[in-house]
Subunit: 277 residues, 2 copies
Amino acid sequence: MQTLSENRCFGGMQGVYKHGSNACECDMTFGLYLPPQAALGPVPILWYLSGLTCTHENAMVKAGVQAHAAAHGMAVVFPDTSPRGDGVTDDEAYDLGQGAGFYVNATQEPWAPNFSMWDYVANELPLLLEAHFPVDAARQTITGHSMGGHGALTLAMGLPGRFASASAFAPIANPSASDWGRKQLAAYLGPDESVWADHDSTILMRTKGFDGPVLVDQGSEDQFLDLLKPQVLAEAMAARRQEGSFRMQKGYDHSYFFVSSFMGDHVAFHARALGLS
Amino acid sequence: MQTLSENRCFGGMQGVYKHGSNACECDMTFGLYLPPQAALGPVPILWYLSGLTCTHENAMVKAGVQAHAAAHGMAVVFPDTSPRGDGVTDDEAYDLGQGAGFYVNATQEPWAPNFSMWDYVANELPLLLEAHFPVDAARQTITGHSMGGHGALTLAMGLPGRFASASAFAPIANPSASDWGRKQLAAYLGPDESVWADHDSTILMRTKGFDGPVLVDQGSEDQFLDLLKPQVLAEAMAARRQEGSFRMQKGYDHSYFFVSSFMGDHVAFHARALGLS
């Protein structure tokens, strides 16, 4: 593993690292914020999954999460959103291929060799983190924005017992029924929609729910409301009697100005679930 | 004046606006954060001046200042760092011309027609803000990073009574004696070094000081310490008996990870100077 950068931040360290990934069969880059408390022993992990077109870097510089992570003593992991590089298949559309992994394991050509972001986030990266950094994999939480909110909720419901809590900012809530989803799930997983169900937060919420608290924030002026479909997730959460909150934030759009505005709430929510505060 | 974007942020609004500038004889773009309190009446202004290569945007998305401005009820202005555009003189070096205005009024060709960033920040933009937004020009404070820290300190000392308080992150503290300064002051102001003195924080601190509190933060691992020369400013502040603090922050570098880590302290410092907290 190679250190690309390390910057002191809120008394801890914001690092960027590169490593060869078995899941994605390419080099992968991720960000990791370690709070000051990591100097004393392993700290809990908050996963932050990013949205379409993002890399590991967007949230790391724009979400303002380090201040809150330092206050609560949590590490924050910022994975990339897809495999990348010259040898990795891409598409000219911004919402397919590199930058648009959708947190699934692709079974279809030409995506199958590299596009295994589920395995990467669920299995490979946690082991790498535990091996190299003072983090405690027994205490994990997860959040994300847009496509990353979709990833956070589907991973949380798909891996019972893994995460103490799950949250999302403006998640792609029902990809099976959205142009942000149908195209990608068909490309990566094939035309059989029954296999898409494990990657649709609304369907997962209807069928199984999450064994911990859930927090979802959505801006009322989000320019992508038609693609995100928050109302069906809100309905499913209420129907499932899911512990947690779905919050409509008046006047906010889809940007990181929205994400950063409520990041403090989300980190505090996860800290409470972990018994840190 | 043209609105380029407006995003809800921490209950207020992060806007970006473009206007024709008389001082710079070109279109200029600036960011303005208005806190929620601006809905009730005019709010004080915190100026944030950015560093070399930056535009209005860097601090707006990376400094985490809006959270603190909202908490204290202060507007934050993010001017650009120079005139810009096809008709504006530039240089192939990153540290001269566009992106490197150094907050002076150029008197030398070919810079004189456009490079009047002192007049722009000191005179033109404040009037524009008062005319169009609920801000109170009687209550102003100023900060900045690197070249912008230089700008903040020189404007504060050069305009007695204008700013209630002044702060800086890793300022170019003694440009008359630095490769970040001698080249630019010579290009913009000519070879007579006596006219550079009004644009050198250390010299201004030695000769007149500031009529309010000053806060300077500097990272001990800053990769540009040789160019910034913090020690001479620290000496000048102490010799002048300048009210305020010079803080050496262990382990921090020159990045926005450093700036964001201490932004809360700076906004609280300015809020206290304004009697807001």
